[in-house]
Symmetry: D2
Subunit: 348 residues, 4 copies
Amino acid sequence: MKHVKAAVAGVTGYAGAELARLLLAHPYADPIFLGRMGSTETTSLTDLHPQLARNDGKPSPEVVPFDWELLRAQQVDFLFLATPHEQSREWAPVAIANGLRVIDLSGAWRLHDPANAAVYKLEDHDPSAAAKLQAETVYGSPELHRAEIKDARMVANPGCYATSVILALAPLVQANVIDLSRGIVVDAKSGVSGAGKAPTTKTHFMYAADNLSAYAVHGHRHTGELLEQLHLTSEDIRFTPHLLPIPRGILSSIYLRLREKSTPAAVDAILRDFYRNSPMVRVHAPGDLPQIQHILRTSYSDIGFDLAPNGRDLLVVSCLDNLLKGAASQAVQNMNVMCGFDEAEGLR
Amino acid sequence: MKHVKAAVAGVTGYAGAELARLLLAHPYADPIFLGRMGSTETTSLTDLHPQLARNDGKPSPEVVPFDWELLRAQQVDFLFLATPHEQSREWAPVAIANGLRVIDLSGAWRLHDPANAAVYKLEDHDPSAAAKLQAETVYGSPELHRAEIKDARMVANPGCYATSVILALAPLVQANVIDLSRGIVVDAKSGVSGAGKAPTTKTHFMYAADNLSAYAVHGHRHTGELLEQLHLTSEDIRFTPHLLPIPRGILSSIYLRLREKSTPAAVDAILRDFYRNSPMVRVHAPGDLPQIQHILRTSYSDIGFDLAPNGRDLLVVSCLDNLLKGAASQAVQNMNVMCGFDEAEGLR
Amino acid sequence: MKHVKAAVAGVTGYAGAELARLLLAHPYADPIFLGRMGSTETTSLTDLHPQLARNDGKPSPEVVPFDWELLRAQQVDFLFLATPHEQSREWAPVAIANGLRVIDLSGAWRLHDPANAAVYKLEDHDPSAAAKLQAETVYGSPELHRAEIKDARMVANPGCYATSVILALAPLVQANVIDLSRGIVVDAKSGVSGAGKAPTTKTHFMYAADNLSAYAVHGHRHTGELLEQLHLTSEDIRFTPHLLPIPRGILSSIYLRLREKSTPAAVDAILRDFYRNSPMVRVHAPGDLPQIQHILRTSYSDIGFDLAPNGRDLLVVSCLDNLLKGAASQAVQNMNVMCGFDEAEGLR
Amino acid sequence: MKHVKAAVAGVTGYAGAELARLLLAHPYADPIFLGRMGSTETTSLTDLHPQLARNDGKPSPEVVPFDWELLRAQQVDFLFLATPHEQSREWAPVAIANGLRVIDLSGAWRLHDPANAAVYKLEDHDPSAAAKLQAETVYGSPELHRAEIKDARMVANPGCYATSVILALAPLVQANVIDLSRGIVVDAKSGVSGAGKAPTTKTHFMYAADNLSAYAVHGHRHTGELLEQLHLTSEDIRFTPHLLPIPRGILSSIYLRLREKSTPAAVDAILRDFYRNSPMVRVHAPGDLPQIQHILRTSYSDIGFDLAPNGRDLLVVSCLDNLLKGAASQAVQNMNVMCGFDEAEGLR
């Protein structure tokens, strides 16, 4: 199998560390790690993330200053952007122009409807070029857009919450079984790593520990992804995130009513059919609801459901690790699809 | 103020420990603590709960064997039953027959509709006497039934989840503003103490820590309380509890749609009006959602809400400490009402 | 009992919040709360600390700008300084000059030996006046210095770690039973609130949770207090703090060898004799080691020990809540002693 | 490389699950999983441990009843015993007689001195055969006994605490630099998984969370391993374990005094020299103390130290994951050595 050269920009954060770990262990990837543009300092990956030290006698991978020349010289194929969205918005077009394929882990390129994208307050140097790149960008959910991702130059890796909700609902939306007049309620809960590495009032241990709080009640940035990918309106679905007192993991409890009375077996069939060829989604047996513990530090998304005795009220529970299937492993999964590797390569 | 003699049966559990603490600090209560009936062993309260040791030179309160004679001899006024529901079902009628006033913290006497009560699988020695006592039992939610509680002989202290939901919804149900055709979704989360002191697979640290799981998805025992107290049917409301990786605290996220477009000020007025004379409910300002940290180890229930831009989709968040307002402090609050004390006596 | 007017400067932090709570509930204290000097903004205590809201119809206590005039006008008796040590170093002499009695919760006035105090890098406007005030400052450990505290104008409230170690060792040092040639090892562990409210890399949930780390291995600021109060040298005792993944609580494991073979009863007698009249220290029975859970949110220090079969190797375990006996409740205890109140007033 | 057939008995516990995970991913191992002897029920590994489900279309590995015939028929080379020590004591001689090589993860075969082994209260059917097998059993610490392990038939996998202490101290004991007259203090802390999967009072979330407690103060079962492997007496070293409120990870803080004044570089040299060819031990730079977070879910043991300004007082901090280097990964490491594989095979 042909190896790919994969550069990672933004390796200091939690998702960046996981991405580095996965690419270093990937049998067909040769990763290089990029720090700040314009810096002259080369650092060591294991100084940033001591848990990655391998003690195998080889030097720690370097984190070298970001430099387009270097990427050309090294014949890099892929650029992973684990950068703030302003940075991703600026760099992605340059990378594409340089012949790279890009997987962007920020929110900068996920939204096609400018009304939804407005939450990111992006400013483009060349708005028409940006609009053109936006138009060709594929939303990097392999379970929904595998074919387009395969040939894409530019992939926008989904948000963590969005992934957990979209994977739970897409099969039911496609099967057209949801009674939208009743509305869909998504009560989502995430561990603290989702709030990023910057020390803030909300990421302080004394705030997050022994606590639970709802936040961003209207207008969480991931809402736009739900609406666009599921073809829903904000009248159809309500999405409320909560901050869990755990390091990582997302559990979304999704409440909806079916148009018509159904059975657990029929709901199960809809899910299994949809995910028949999706190695990173584990569909649970009816009534067996996923929990965070079983997806922690795995690349899987677990989906389960419970159908009420009335045959119509459905609870779907969706779990994933926000740093893996919600970020880094989904990015690698996209790379696998783009390269024609086994979709689960390096992810089990 | 006249002092009351208050006996507590079932002081080994978490709620029992809190009840003991509150009654020992209550200015008008003289508590005595009861262990197993038929036992001959007197133990010490602080052996059971070392954190209660006062180091004031006085001996620790005793836990004496349960004995109806003793209650008579000591001229006990009140009997708190923090006992398993089978025990409460058996002892409450005897206590009433002995002239005691009873506050039962179990689920045994909360439900009036036998269909709802069936979840407890209660067996009565004298079914007609039990039915009579059930009929006169008052559901011990002072905010809803203050007047009846005042004169009651028999009070059924509400469930912890039920309290958090009923207090959030009762004002809106009474004001008749909820669009029930859209349904109400209650996504509730509780700390592990709610699962009791017995070591089980689910209370093992390795199960509960760094985890989140939904459970009892249909048919949680507290559902019947919601339906009866809020005059709703199971088609109107869905209630799903989750196990949080924290010791105590409940947060319920409640989703509903208003019949007609409204304003934050109007919703706020409904809540404040309802709780005007309720010292143990703290209504938050519009948009300021309660969180578990602020009610931990307090006797308050905190209620807040967020009204969506469409003026109809309402999120109500309700928090309380499951061992206090969800159990022990609500029991003391009921005693205060029954005795004509200040309702918040000993609870701030 | 005569009431005292007690002003608290520095009410935004964790210890300040606990101090406010204790003084508001104290039967003989009328507290007022002070914010920044020179500010013109009055805020509300419950805006800072929502958990303190009493819902009793009365307005929340105000936090008014710090102003010496105001303290005079209000005839304040006591000034609690829960301020950074530079601030405490500057304000304490002014307060004393204004006739106030001061209890300082910072480290600024705890150390008499300038070599030890150097860790705080204090700069005095008037060094000789500062030295004079330092000389009269009493170390606010009521169990060691009750008589001096009673008459003191200026009390330096001890550090949290220092309190846990000093209370464990003082009886044994006084009884002269420790074999110092073997050395004393103090392995101390504290919850995250000890690191303060400022968001930093180390107080980030992702750093502190599911982790344990040693820090400040040589030269923790509290070391000087141990040496001065216990009359030891740095060759005699080693003190290493660790950061626990819990919000609050300190447990110190203290290892030493006795000069001569002894018995549990004899060690027990030394501890009980020393603490006979100390209401805030709970001495455990031999072999019954304290744990953090039993002192959480109490004002007690718990001390227990285990004597090895060889009759000489002694483990002393000392627990306290770093925000209470390690800060706020010890400050109130000092106030109680200074005013002739019951030493435990408002602390049980 | 020749593949090995490796049977695992006792796959229901935490260490068993990790062992299964490692062997399934090991490039040269074909694992089979064994349940109860005499049972007739075959179950699925992923029913026991849902987090191991691979979703790769292949059936989950089976857990078949333990049966010596089956092991013979399948030509099993290795038997891992992750069983209670009574079981291991009984089965190991049978396995050896059947020509298998055995790695026992229990405590049954670790101790050579019967006085130390007495804590396990083992009863042997054939005491002289057991003594003979005990005599040939190699203590499975590859860093200390690599050569003997290579040829061993019977390896006793070390205890988790013992590994953390022995790896920290062995280089210093061998270099003969410790002043034993001062004594060695080991203050060890472990996550809750070390207490096993059975629900008990101490593994209840409400006991372990937000708590810290010392236990087994004298006579923890792992003490004998320290003494035997480090050639120390109980007068030389004191070992106290504590229960941390985290799922997994051990940190041991080890205090000792050097015979003679030394330098950080000299201590560093002793450690690095000892571990030059040990891939699973990561020696930290002087002053850089390991923490639990960096070894969690890795197979490494991290060792760091801090030398006091006096050049003699040394703190060594040793961290490992109790389920990996403290159990399952050390077992696989032993298998690697015994088979002539790369020692780190399947462990990075």
